[in-house]
């Protein structure tokens, strides 16, 4: 197990290193310097700024300095346009809570609803609740979260004036929570459907297993047998999809945040792309990569813990 963990960690560190390197060279490859279109900047000031950012040194030296900065000093570069001079790391740090709050709330809502819908569908397999739920599942999985966000913003918020149009970052807790309902809803449709579909499959398989028959034979009522045996066993594999789902919600939240102007990482990425503040873009992307790599690592390790047969190299064998 120790060797397995080491291997996985090594792989993920390597991935992260490659992403950082690609990000570095991409930054340098983007056509035009950071201050090319700034008429207010005197040539001397420009040169000084460029020297301060080490942009005048040869590329390999810049690369080493860049990597060293990230590893040793947590220096991800300074913002160029959005808030010039402020460390990109600090900007990201203050954006993280909003994004995390949104994503965790969405996860907390999707799990029970998804489990409920999945259980209903499995118990009423091939009857009308199952049919209805499977139609809804296809709908929620297919329609992108930004379409849901647009719909929610137009009807409940704009036409019926039930909710605020945009995220309320300054109001009191109640107002803020109310303004979070729509973005969280928009993010949750997909995950609910994913959980529901997965649980339904698992539960149907478990319900037809022999130990369920045994549970009934020894005198448990159907409801008891389902609650004590089938349901529990079907929920364990859910652990496998929850963590990757979190990355997915994060991806979707990039756009949903922008639509509702939630001051999170997503809005930051969009703003920095639009203002061509590439250091912030890259830092935000690296943050995003870090989260995603960590998720994959956690999933791989927990696979190994839950089922020791799945180990490095044995994956994919059927």
């Amino acid at each position: 197990m120790g060797k397995y963990v080491l291997k996985r960690v090594g792989l993920m560190v390597l991935s992260l290193f490659i992403i950082i390197s690609v990000a570095f060279f991409a930054l340098r490859l983007i056509p035009g310097g950071p201050y090319d279109d700034d008429p207010d900047l005197a040539p001397e000031a420009q040169a000084a700024l460029i020297a301060r950012m080490n942009l005048d040194k040869p590329l390999p030296v810049q690369y080493v300095l860049f990597i060293k900065g990230i590893l040793m000093e947590n220096n991800w570069g300074a913002s160029l346009k959005l808030r010039p001079g402020i460390s990109a790391f600090d900007i990201i740090k203050e954006r993280v809570p909003a994004t995390m709050l949104l994503n965790i709330m969405s996860l907390l809502i999707s799990l029970p609803l998804g489990i409920l819908a999945g259980t209903l569908a499995a118990l009423y397999k091939s009857k009308w609740p199952d049919a209805l739920i499977s139609v809804l599942v296809i709908l929620c999985i297919s329609v992108p979260s930004f379409i849901f966000a647009t719909l929610l913003q137009y009807f409940p918020a704009y036409r019926w004036e039930l909710f605020p149009l945009l995220f309320n970052a300054t109001g009191n807790t109640a107002a803020r929570l109310k303004s979070m309902i729509l973005p969280v809803m928009a993010l949750s449709f997909g995950p609910i459907a994913t959980v529901c579909r997965y649980l339904r499959g698992e539960l149907i398989e478990t319900l037809s297993s022999e130990y369920m028959l045994l549970a009934r034979t020894k005198g448990l009522k159907r409801a008891q047998a389902i609650a004590r045996h089938a349901f529990r066993n079907s929920c364990v594999p859910l652990a496998n999809i929850i963590i990757p789902m979190f990355t997915n919600i994060m991806g979707g939240s990039l756009v949903v945040e922008t639509l509702f102007s939630v001051p999170g990482i997503g809005t930051l990425i969009v703003d920095s792309i639009n203002t061509r503040d590439y250091t912030v873009t890259m830092a935000a992307l690296l943050f995003y990569s870090f989260i995603s790599v960590m998720t994959i690592l956690i999933v791989d390790l927990s696979y190994g813990l839950i089922d020791p047969r799945i180990r490095l190299g044995a994956k994919g064998n059927e």
Partner: protein
């Protein structure tokens, strides 16, 4: 019946010298006991097609897909205006369709908010009898304000024109742009997914066929690339190479081939040791033929399924990039760029968002339904799992 084994070359005389007269023809039985096939034998694909055609949802999805693809091809030329033709004086026109306007939908009407009631009779402000009705009468600081519903085409003076889905902020025909955008999105998705499949099949086949150390290294490379988040790759690609179709397709390929490669590899691990493969190898069939002729055809079902499931993902990713400001460079429309532009004027002109949103939703649902149907048809053991 004795079970003695005779040596055919020197049979004992009592067997070798049986006179011909002792041989007797066995009369043909009146009826054969074996059951005769009453149905025509069906091959794998015929069987799969049969199952697919029984799946109502998949058939409907298929018809919708064909219709959408047809519209993506001919739609832009159905409109008298090109996707890039600007009518700067006719911006944000509401939708208006011949025939339908008579029954009151898509009739080119638009509600102007907060207009003074007194000015309604002023024909310089409201020319050509364009007013249909007014509502929501209220008094603000002494003036009576109303919301006026007008025939917008009469209002701006182009009653002879019909923009079926309205026009955008530059006065470009939304109908032409929508179908052109659908075409662009579909092209991006198809190109990316086809490349994914080709790369994935070759890569997975090599890894799975040769196995051992090579397989280990190749799969580790997959693991590393798979850890790159799609959003990050697409953003970097488009920042560096500019927002063209080619950059978008390349960006989608970077990670897209990995699921196919993994799937093909596991298929190869399964079939690599089968007797028929060993037999072919013994007879001197070269590696390439073994891979592509003998083992790969087993995976044709999963490959088709995987392709169908990957297409909506690619369409989604393209729109997603447009939303975060990295869509195709203008004037080329895609569903994503139409949506993100429509979003900016959602409150005033919802029709600019409505039609692209409907199109992408229907497209995604149809692809998903058809993909599920194909999977069930090609691999019946998976049926009913979700």
């Amino acid at each position: 019946m004795s079970n003695r084994v005779y040596d055919l070359k020197n049979l004992p005389p009592e067997i070798a010298d049986i006179p011909e007269s002792r041989f007797r023809e066995v009369p043909k039985a009146d009826h054969v006991m074996d059951a005769e096939f009453e149905t025509v034998a069906r091959g794998f694909f015929k069987d799969a097609m049969f199952r697919l055609s029984r799946n109502k949802a998949a058939v409907v999805a298929f018809v919708i897909l064909i219709a959408l693809i047809f519209m993506a091809i001919v739609g832009p030329s159905m409109s008298p205006y090109s996707f890039n033709q600007q009518f700067t004086e006719y911006t944000f026109m509401p939708p208006r369709v011949q025939g339908l306007e008579k029954i009151g939908i898509l009739d080119g009407s638009y509600t102007l908010k907060n207009r003074a009631l007194d000015s309604l009779g002023d024909s310089s402000k409201y020319p050509n009898d364009c007013i249909i009705s007014y509502s929501n009468e209220r008094s603000v600081r002494g003036t009576t304000l109303v919301d006026v519903k007008v025939n917008y085409y009469k209002y701006v003076g182009c009653e002879d024109k019909y923009f079926w889905l309205g026009t955008d902020e530059l006065g470009r025909d939304q109908w032409a742009r929508l179908w052109r955008g659908t075409r662009v999105s579909l092209i991006i998705a198809f190109a990316a997914v086809l490349s994914d499949v080709v790369i994935g099949v070759v890569y997975g086949a090599i890894a799975g066929y040769y196995g051992g150390r090579l397989d280990l290294i190749m799969m580790r490379i997959c693991d590393i690339i798979n850890a790159f988040p799609n959003v990050v790759i697409c953003t970097i690609f488009i920042l560096v190479f500019g927002s063209g179709m080619r950059a978008m397709i390349l960006a989608l390929i970077v990670r897209g081939w990995i699921p196919t490669a993994r799937m093909i590899r596991s298929q190869f691990l399964r079939f690599r040791g089968r007797e028929y493969v060993m037999a072919a190898q013994t007879m001197g069939v070269p590696n390439r033929a073994l891979i592509f002729r003998h083992i790969l055809p087993n995976s044709i079902g999963p490959i088709i399924t995987r392709t169908m499931i990957a297409i909506p993902d690619a369409i989604f990713m393209e729109s997603f990039m447009a939303y975060i400001g990295l869509g195709l460079a203008p004037p080329e429309p895609s569903i994503g760029t139409l949506l993100s532009r429509g979003q900016r004027v959602l409150m005033q002109y919802p029709h600019l968002t409505l039609f692209p949103a409907l199109t992408i939703s229907v497209l995604m649902i149809a692809f998903n339904l058809f993909g599920n149907g194909l999977r069930d048809a090609l691999d019946p053991t998976q049926r009913g799992l979700d």
